[in-house]
């Protein structure tokens, strides 16, 4: 009995070669980690509500050990899943579905988080890691914060449980066997079925990219980090301790801003470098919903600063941190429930966990918001009697946060269209011009946010009096105005052009009469102001003090980022346009863009400053690289630059054309090249001609001249040809191509004398030209031969290409990096502060 039990689970079962130990250990660890997280939650909350010091200490210890055990188990699951994928254990559905044997190491790692189960595990792994840091650093806030961290792990744990409770499937385990997932496939009736499963389904070719190896871990660390400020906010609301949490929360919130921001920016870099979006941001639902939580944490961070220095804005601080985490959960719900359907390129496949995801989301949002409402309704929060002064720093920071909230509202509202359809039973579709839809609102958000970052720092907390240094804020504005006009003239920026923003709603004529009255120009001024204002503050007010410089560096970076966005997008130039030199002007219509150009092999076209030639292809399985040569000449006609771009494409049997662009990077611009279509060479037609020729006759086919130059009575024959009793005659042919190359071939005519003069023939071919000749008849009297000449249609050799120049795109990356660098500087400063308080 007992032996049977073990034999079934660990020994050789009914199937040969399955390594069941891994799945069983994995299932066990998942259930164990779930239970341990639950215990950690209960213990930490018991500790939190214990009044006796002794009990509190004991419960805290139980909480710590359970969380430690939980984290260890999560790590164990993580390692097991890696072992499964690395060793190609295709008896497991996850390994079979997401990986294959030919994948190189970096993509095998990516297979880990391609599926929902793996990415949930990645998320849990990061929260467990942050929690372990928390145990050692949280001090007197450990109990409630860790209790909340543990309960988020409980909920996340249910997503990978994969057990049935009362007929409902809870979660989806990565350790499901392939044969259990596909019960009806007849193959699994064979005990040795594994011998037939040679390879897995493999990683989606779109995701076979090094960014897929590094972007998800950073992004999920970002998502995980948003848990911490949320946990602090709820903990403080529970304790009714309005001040004790503030300094300890700063480093966590700053960490979250920096890491989540980096993750989002990396996603943009991925989209720009290797996907065919033709840009770094497409306002895709999934992009938007990772950006919204970031905005909320940024707003929360600023409100926390206001509260710290003025005691104002406490409610907003709580609200933003709760919303930040709430939006992470909402974004999880959108991307993983299948509700987005076809509106997004990167949603996961539906695993039927919609209900579970809803419960998860509702639980934390309801708990957080209810707690906040109770505290506000009972008037338990401290109230500052004095109103904010109009010219105080806190007032404008509050306005800034409100602006970020508006930005989030618009993004969420439009992204949620599939949700509105479901809830209200309506049938609306996303906007036709999605990018213009978002840009036309978000540009104003950008303008106001940039202006605020430029001057709010010059104001002081708790005082409406302008400090003497405020004059620098005004000078900066003047400087920004002058610089912007200069840049606009120097770079020939036309502010009346529509770019990607729909201005038709605003009066057109106004912009034409006064080109500088344009949102783009305001955007440029505001961004330049963010740059100058923060530079000025850093050097004139802070005197270059590095320790205090975090905010200025971050806001300076934000300004650089915005300038990069405006110029790289606004001045981007599609150089592969079919009609050149025609100003489409205001009539320029999205529908009539002619961005694709046909490039025949070895022919040269002028695109922008370049002479562009498609010269060759290179096979790099499964991709084909198309070598596109760019030459730039100066006025005298000398070549000053010569480089080759290698955009690649594969015609994937399952997904159609998959193309990756290639980009030439300069300091001040990028030349982006992308294959948009390839000739369809699948249905090539053969032509077949019959010709009767005497020696020295010439025959013309569509692409060749064929000369019958001699008869060869002793032709070379294939080694396995038995010429016993046969008469063989070789017909020697010259085949001349259009480009004056001459090939020879020799079809052979065979008469089997021993076998009733049966006739057969051995065709001769010129593979280079796709020509095959076969002898049908030889007339001994007229000495004429009858040939059947087959000619294959030559495959078309061209690429359809799109090439774009993005000027100053490096400012986007530089600005982003500076923003997060500044945030890390602040984190360093605030961590020190947090330590001095706790000690």
């Amino acid at each position: 009995m007992l032996l049977n039990f073990f034999a079934e689970r660990f020994g050789a079962g009914a199937f040969v070669g399955e390594k069941l130990w891994l799945g069983h250990t994995g299932h066990f660890l998942i259930v164990f980690s779930f239970a341990a997280a639950l215990l950690a939650f209960l213990a930490y909350f018991a500790a939190e509500f214990s009044t006796q010091q002794q009990n509190k200490k004991q419960w805290t210890n139980i909480g710590r050990w359970s969380f430690g055990a939980h984290s260890t188990a999560v790590l164990g699951v993580f390692v097991l899943l890696f072992i499964m994928i690395l060793n190609h254990m295709f008896e497991y559905h996850y390994a079979w579905r997401h990986s294959s044997t030919e994948l190189p190491m970096k993509y095998i790692i990516s297979s880990f988080w391609e599926g929902q189960e793996g990415s949930f595990l990645l998320w849990m792994f990061w929260i467990a890691t942050l929690g372990m840091v928390g145990i050692f650093t949280l001090k007197n806030y450990e109990q409630p914060v860790m209790g909340i961290v543990a309960i988020t792990q409980v909920f996340l744990g249910t997503m990978v449980l994969g057990i049935y409770v009362l007929g409902h499937k809870i979660g989806s385990s990565p350790f499901i066997l392939l044969r259990n997932e596909m019960l009806d496939a007849p193959i699994f009736q064979r005990p040795n079925y594994l011998d037939f499963i040679k390879d897995g389904n493999g990683l989606n070719p779109l995701l076979q990219n090094y960014w897929m190896t590094i972007h998800p871990p950073v992004l999920f660390l970002g998502f995980a980090s948003v848990t911490m400020p949320f946990a602090f906010a709820v903990a403080s609301l529970l304790r009714k301790d309005w001040d004790g949490w503030v300094k300890a929360t700063f480093p966590w919130a700053l960490f979250s801003v920096a890491i989540l921001g980096t993750g989002i920016l990396m996603g943009g870099a991925w989209a720009y470098e290797s996907l065919s979006f033709g840009g770094f941001w497409a306002w895709d639902p999934v992009e938007n919903m990772s950006f919204v939580p970031w905005l909320m944490v940024v707003a929360g961070l600023h409100m926390l600063l206001v509260y710290r220095y003025t005691k104002h804005s406490l409610v907003s601080t709580y609200l933003f941190f709760i919303l930040g985490f709430g939006f992470v959960l909402y974004s999880t719900f959108l991307t993983r429930s299948g509700i987005l359907g076809d509106t997004s390129v990167h949603a996961f496949t539906d695993l039927g966990m919609t209900g579970q995801l809803l419960v998860y989301m509702a639980f934390f949002i309801v708990v957080g918001i209810t707690l906040l409402i109770i505290r506000v309704a009972k008037k338990q929060l401290p109230v500052v009697q004095k109103e904010e002064e109009l010219w105080s720093r806190e007032f404008w920071m509050f306005i800034g946060s409100l602006i970020l909230l508006l930005s989030a509202v618009q993004m969420t509202f439009t992204t949620s269209i599939p949700v509105w359809n479901k809830i209200f039973g309506i049938n609306i579709a996303p906007p036709e011009k999605v990018i213009a839809h978002y840009n036309s609102i978000q540009i104003w958000i950008g303008i106001i946010a940039a202006l605020l970052t430029g001057f709010a720092q010059y104001l002081t907390y708790r005082s409406g009096k302008l400090p003497s240094t405020f004059k620098w804020a005004s000078y900066s504005l003047l400087g920004a105005l002058v610089l912007s006009i200069g840049i606009a003239l120097a770079m020939d920026i036309s502010f009346t052009q529509q770019y990607n923003i729909d201005l038709s709603k605003v009066s057109d004529s106004l912009f034409i009469k006064f080109p500088f009255i344009s949102p783009y120009f305001f955007f440029l001024v505001a961004s330049m102001y963010a740059i100058l204002g923060n530079l000025g503050y850093l050097f004139l007010v802070l005197k270059g003090n590095l320790r205090l410089s975090g905010g200025s560096v971050a806001h300076f970076g934000f300004g650089v980022f915005l300038v990069g966005v405006l110029i790289s997008q606004g001045k981007q130039q599609v150089i592969s346009q079919n009609i050149q030199g025609i100003d489409f002007g205001k009539e320029f219509n999205n529908d009539d863009k002619r961005d694709n150009i046909l490039l025949l092999r070895d022919s040269t076209l002028t695109m922008g400053d370049y002479q562009v030639t498609y010269t060759a292809t290179k096979e790099e399985k499964p991709n084909t690289l198309y070598l596109v040569n760019y030459i730039r000449k100066n006025k005298v006609g000398e070549t000053v630059e010569n480089f080759v771009l290698e955009p690649n494409a594969q015609v994937n049997p399952k997904m159609g054309l998959l193309a990756n662009p290639d980009t030439k990077h300069y300091l001040t611009k990028d030349v982006f090249t992308h294959v948009t279509s390839l000739p369809d060479n699948r249905n090539l037609k053969d032509t077949s001609l019959v010709a009767e020729l005497a020696v020295n006759d010439t025959f013309a086919t569509r692409t060749a001249l064929i000369v019958f130059d001699s008869i060869n009575p002793a032709p070379t024959l294939p080694a396995d040809f038995n010429k016993e009793g046969k008469l063989v005659v070789g017909i020697h042919l010259q085949v001349k191509s259009e480009d004056k190359k001459t090939y020879t071939t020799q079809p052979v005519f065979v008469i089997d004398l021993a076998n009733g003069n049966e006739i057969s023939s051995l065709p001769g071919a010129v593979d280079e030209m796709g020509i095959t000749a076969e002898v049908l008849k030889i007339d001994p009297k007229s000495k004429k031969v009858t040939l059947n000449i087959r000619e294959q249609e030559k495959p078309a050799d061209f690429i359809i290409l799109k090439a774009i120049v993005f000027p100053y795109i490096n400012l986007v990356w530089l600005g982003g990096i500076l923003t997060f660098l500044g945030t890390f500087i602040s984190m360093y400063r605030r961590s020190k502060e947090a330590k001095t308080v706790a000690a």
């Binding site: 496939a185 040679k198 509202v409 999205n590 863009k593 997904m655």
Partner: protein, 142 residues
């Protein structure tokens, strides 16, 4: 309530209202081709490619012109033109969503989304059975 807060709340409410209003203004709708003709503005049409009707894409002549015939879910056939490169394997699409509007007798699409019969993640095992020679495909829907 402090007066500043009242002002702020009003501004925020107006701002939100304006944003949501302008958003709904941009929203598109799903329609069939008859409705698209009646409305005259941008719509999304869901339907299928009519495979026995000619498809025009001659990149040597114009790489930015592609036309095909599509039938919507109510059975209305319509010629659709798209100013861009023809998506690879278009013939194999199972379902199409075209965004755009009627322009005279043709529907001018600004965007085409195609749903392919086998998204990459379908569960299909290809088995190589050596001893029996040849390949066998086992399909199973989850």
């Amino acid at each position: 309530m402090k007066k500043l807060h009242v002002i702020l709340l009003i501004v925020a409410a107006l701002g939100t209202g304006a944003i949501l209003y302008s958003a709904t203004d941009d929203f598109s709708t799903y329609a069939n081709f008859i409705q698209a003709k009646e409305k005259g503005k941008g719509v999304n049409v869901v339907g299928y490619l009519v495979k026995d009707q000619p498809m025009v894409y001659d990149p040597q002549n114009d790489p930015n012109f592609f036309s095909f015939v599509m039938v919507d879910k109510e059975g209305n056939e319509q010629t659709v033109i798209y100013k861009g490169a023809k998506p690879q394997d278009f013939e194999r699409s199972e379902q199409l969503v075209v965004k755009g509007k009627m322009n005279g007798d043709v529907f001018k699409a600004s965007e085409i989304q195609m749903k392919c019969p086998s998204k990459y993640v379908n569960d299909e095992i290809t088995l190589k059975e050596g001893e029996e020679g040849g390949m066998k495909t086992v399909k199973s829907n989850l």
